[in-house]
């Protein structure tokens, strides 16, 4: 049960903008499944943080960034697909995490929970969201060219491995932003569903980015309002709104 906290809402909306942008590129890079599983890696970090009496979000972020480095290195070292690596590594993370955290804490970590936001958390969150948005907008051209073909990207002087790592890091940080409200199980969906919906509706990349951000922000705002009205947890309501947008979009399809 929660009331509408303006600071929490502000941070959640900033997170939604980041999620809409990162999600569009994640969908275009065919990371749909991987993205969802990737968010699970935060769980053992949250578990460890609880054991050592640290802020859960700090443990989650640390583990996400470590996980990012791990898949990036495995991808380069083994030439397996991201989907395969993420599938294996992060199912293991979920299993380890559920052993480390338990009871109420585990439910909060999985699905997000309430709790007052400290001013430093809110400031750090806004800074991270701004950094993610800036990264996607500034690197948009490089991301598109490497999406077409990594070999073409190389001829244009793009360091493809570095760009991949930065994108994975942006993705992980977006997950980290949503841990508190949506939890490790749901955050991946907020990143992916608006991007997937926008892909169906848009007629240009520009349009896709705009629609995706609008849907992520809309679902987050609606979820917050619904949570306050219905006295329920925010996370599941945000995801339900987002999924509703997807189902509502199904009859519509771009024509050109």
């Amino acid at each position: 049960m929660q009331s509408l906290d303006p600071r929490a809402l502000g941070l959640a909306l900033a997170m939604a903008v980041a999620a809409g942008l990162v999600g569009s590129f994640a969908v275009m890079r065919r990371m749909t499944l991987a993205a969802d599983a990737m968010s699970h890696v935060a769980l053992p970090g949250i578990g460890l943080a609880l054991i050592f009496k640290l802020q859960p979000v700090v443990g989650g972020v640390a583990m996400l960034l470590l996980g990012t480095l791990l898949i990036w290195a495995l991808e380069r070292g083994t030439r397996l697909s991201t989907e395969t690596i993420v599938g294996v590594v992060f199912s293991a993370a979920l299993a380890a995490g559920s052993l480390l955290a338990s009871g109420e804490e585990l439910i909060d970590a999985l699905f997000g929970g309430a709790g007052k936001l400290a001013p430093w958390e809110s400031a750090a969150g806004l800074a991270v969201a701004a950094a993610i948005v800036a990264f996607v907008l500034l690197e948009k051209d490089r991301l598109i060219v490497s999406l077409v073909s990594p070999d073409i990207a190389r001829t244009a002087g793009i360091d493809v491995a570095r760009l991949d790592l930065l994108f994975l890091a942006a993705f992980s940080l977006t997950v980290a932003l949503g841990l508190r409200y949506l939890g490790v199980l749901l955050m991946g969906s907020l990143i992916i569903i608006p991007g997937a919906t926008a892909k169906r509706l848009a007629r240009s990349l520009h349009g896709m980015l705009q629609i995706s951000v609008a849907l992520a922000v809309g679902a987050t705002a609606l979820g917050f309002v619904a949570a306050a009205l219905l006295h329920r947890e925010t996370g599941p309501l945000v995801i339900l709104c987002s999924a509703s947008f997807f189902f509502l979009s199904l009859p519509f399809r771009r024509t050109a």
Binding site: M28, R30, K140, D141, R142, I144, V145, L147, V148, S149, P150, D151, I152, A153, R154, T155, A156, G157, I158, A198, K199, A202, R203, S204, L205, H206, G207, M208, R254, A256
Partner: protein
């Protein structure tokens, strides 16, 4: 003539499998260089190696002022993404710091209209999409073009038109062209030197010496027929 590319004793292996070995050739600046050979001979691997994407032994050296433009045989991108042709070209322009108006210039030189460039890539025909890829390679003013089967998936009249376009761009802008093609007649009439990659030792030379029926039968392990078009212009 100065060389755009010099290759010395280049060998590429994938584990135990040797894709090709001890490859040596050079490509003169402003010339057209063809690469032919049966499937699996390592043509695409050679391109990827020259782009610096694969481990190898031996050496290759591009001229210092080289700017590469590449059309790969296969793309990673899904065709159903909502990206317009113009957005793709603009992204390449942004990365290569192209001047304003360059996107329109390359669209013009490959013969794609503004209406087509504004459509999503999934709605383009095979021929239009391949032209877009050539345009994509041309953004950033490259002086060397590496084209890996640039007419793949295009019907025959479309292939002729696209090859003519490529030849025209190459001649007008004095570009060095490295061209992989299965179409021996295209290679015969459009390149000065050809590299035949196959099961035996690689051979490099002018097409009229390398592309004899006997040499082709040896290269492909079966007789190969090809038609030299009557309207082919004499090579310089």
């Amino acid at each position: 003539m100065e060389n755009a590319l010099e290759v010395e004793g280049l060998t590429v292996r994938f584990g135990e499998t040797e894709v090709f070995r001890d490859l040596s050739f050079h490509v003169a600046k402003g010339s057209s260089f063809g690469i032919i050979g049966p499937n699996g001979a390592g043509k695409t691997v050679l391109f990827k190696t020259l782009l610096g994407a694969l481990p190898h032994t031996g050496s290759f050296r591009w001229a210092k002022d080289s700017r590469l433009g590449y059309v790969p045989q296969k793309l990673d991108i899904e065709r159903d993404l909502p990206i317009t042709g113009r957005e793709l070209l603009a992204a390449k322009g942004g990365v290569s710091r192209a001047a304003r108006g360059e996107v329109e210039r390359v669209l013009g030189s490959v013969g794609l209209g503004a209406e087509v460039a504004g459509r999503t890539i999934g709605s383009l025909s095979g021929g239009q999409f391949q032209r877009l890829l050539v345009a994509f390679a041309l953004v950033g003013k490259p002086n060397v073009l590496l084209f890996d089967e640039p007419t793949a998936g295009v019907d025959e009249p479309g292939q002729e038109g696209l090859h003519d376009t490529i030849q025209k761009i190459q001649a007008e802008q004095q570009l060095t062209l490295l061209l992989i093609s299965h179409d021996i007649s295209v290679i015969y009439r459009s390149v000065q030197q050809v590299l035949c990659l196959g099961r035996h030792r690689p051979v490099v030379g002018p097409p009229e010496e390398c592309l004899t029926p006997q040499a082709l039968a040896e290269l492909y392990g079966a007789p190969v027929r090809f038609h030299v078009h009557d309207h082919a212009e004499p090579r310089p």
